[in-house]
Amino acid sequence: MSAHASTMTLNSRYPVPWQRRILPYVLLAPAILVVLVVVFVPMVEAVITSLYDLILWKPNASRFVGFGNYIKLFADPVFWVALGNTALWIGLTVPLQMGLGLLTALLLNREFPWRGLARALVIIPWALSSVVIALMWRWIYDPNTGVLNDILLNLSIIQSGIPWLADPKTALYAVIATLVWQGFPFFAVMILAGLQGIPRSQYEAASIDGASAWRQFRHITLPGIGPVLATAGLLRVIWVANSMDVIFVMTGGGPGYATYTLPLYAFIRARQNLDFGYGTAIAVTFTVLLGSIVAIYILRTMREVER
């Protein structure tokens, strides 16, 4: 049943000719080539940039500073604030998106007359462009003219309007809520596709055995979509960590540094203040941190994905 076992039997049964041995590389070559040329080369260039004191509007004053940018970075209080925010940002957004997406996928996998329509409607938040979403939610949160406070006031949940995005205590959570709304359809669609791989016969057998709905979910559904869930979660962590357009339009990182995440900080330093050396140092540090977390995650879950 396991991947290793079956491949090994295949490989050991026949002597492997060289054509077959290079086949995986041939299959991989196009993907690697595109990625290598378009991302990898610029990325290496960027890593080199981070060792320079390079401010774009001072092209002649550029000089090599070694790890100077990194030393400056670790002494920078904004870096630590942004790091904390990034952790909170990923730690809340991804599980919430996944939970809501899983629920949606399970419901949309049932049979009901308007299923096709419901499936299409649910992906709308994901299909909207980020800038439209950000502006829309900015308006919803607006304490003066927005609709969220109106609703809460009418329901007497709050007594006076809350400045959601202007208060450093609520701003990050408000932006996270927006991103959860935007991103849950992604999980719904991915999980929905994963659910198709579970043989219906397994549920039938379980029902005959009298297993409860929860037990069926726990012992058939979850293991069935496990690999998809693990991969989609992993990819989403990376995507969410890097997505800053919604934050940028909604708060620009403010109030103060309350909604700064590391990619946003890198963006502001590099693209707005044109401090490319420092900006790339932030980006590289972020990539290394995220990379190590992802590596740990993969080591722990890869075995399940591979199974």
């Binding site: 993907a31 690697i32 419901l107 096709g116 462009s129 994905v305």
Partner: protein, 277 residues
């Protein structure tokens, strides 16, 4: 399975689905309302909730006075191009990852993830210079290539897990029956992985459709996508709410319609008998 009564179905399925659909559409409804309210009225009294104040004025202006249709065309070329390129190279890569064990496999898989962890903003400048040297600035190809690099790693990983879920006994059986590896991929794996391929395709389409930063820097003039066009409606001192909302609604249509069409393919269970056998 015993047939659940209609009432029970409504309570356990239709109603919760309706709630989720409302959650998804609630904020979108405001966007639709804004797009239906004439611009002059938005400035004066805000969004109109009653149908009496509605009109298609904004849509007419959007189509007539801005080059939105042309922008949609460019976006469509870029998004579909990215889907074709992305899926073609990802499917074969995913097949290699899930069916072969070879030297450097893990390293290559990790490399795919790593390139996506680096904040895109810092790749823009080197990429801009690269595209200028290749003479690709302001072409569809440059945007397709740039978007593909974002899409391919994700697509490869997603597809690897979908293909990995297909029992290997099936392609082995096909190969024993005389199929070559590639034939087994085409005849057995592709049809079975179709739900996964489609959802990954949707993913690539939406990501490419909504991409802004590359579209602005690498394209922007003759090749101007919807996202860039929408951004020009956000001015220094003014936001054209009416046009922006209309643009947002129209801009979300292609992906939604596409999904409405292909979602039928997301129904599994057709081939399960074969798996059991």
């Amino acid at each position: 399975m015993n047939k659940p009564s209609v009432l029970r179905r409504i309570l356990t399925t239709d109603l919760p689905v309706l709630l989720i659909v409302l959650l998804a559409l609630g904020p979108f409804a405001w966007l639709v309302l804004t797009s239906l309210t004439p611009s002059a009225q938005i400035a004066q009294s805000g969004v109109s909730v009653s149908p009496s104040g509605w009109g298609v004025d904004n849509y007419v202006r959007l189509l007539r006075q801005t080059s939105f249709v042309a922008n949609m065309g460019h976006s469509l070329i870029v998004a579909l191009g990215t889907v074709v390129l992305g899926l073609t190279v990802s499917v074969t890569a995913a097949y290699a990852f899930s069916r072969f064990r070879f030297a450097g496999r893990r390293l290559i898989m990790l490399q795919f993830l790593l390139v996506n962890m680096f904040p895109v903003v810092l790749l823009i400048l080197p990429l801009f210079i690269l595209m200028r040297r290749l003479g690709l600035l302001d072409t569809h190809l440059s945007l397709i290539l740039a978007n593909a690099t974002v899409a391919i790693p994700f697509a490869v990983w997603m597809l690897t897990s979908y293909v990995g879920a297909i029992p290997k006994s099936l392609d082995e059986a096909a190969m024993i029956d005389g199929c070559s590896r590639l034939m087994a991929l085409r005849r057995v794996v592709l049809p079975l992985a179709m739900p996964g391929i489609i959802s990954t395709g949707i993913y690539i389409f939406i990501t490419a459709w909504n991409e802004y930063l590359y579209a602005l820097t690498l394209g922007g003039r003759t090749v101007r996508t919807v996202t860039v066009a929408i951004q020009t409606l956000i001015g220094e001192y003014q936001i054209e709410w009416g046009l922006l909302a209309a643009g947002g609604v129209v801009g979300a249509l292609p992906a939604t319609l596409l999904f409405l069409i292909v979602q039928r393919r997301l129904i599994g269970g057709l081939t399960q008998g074969a798996v059991k056998g």
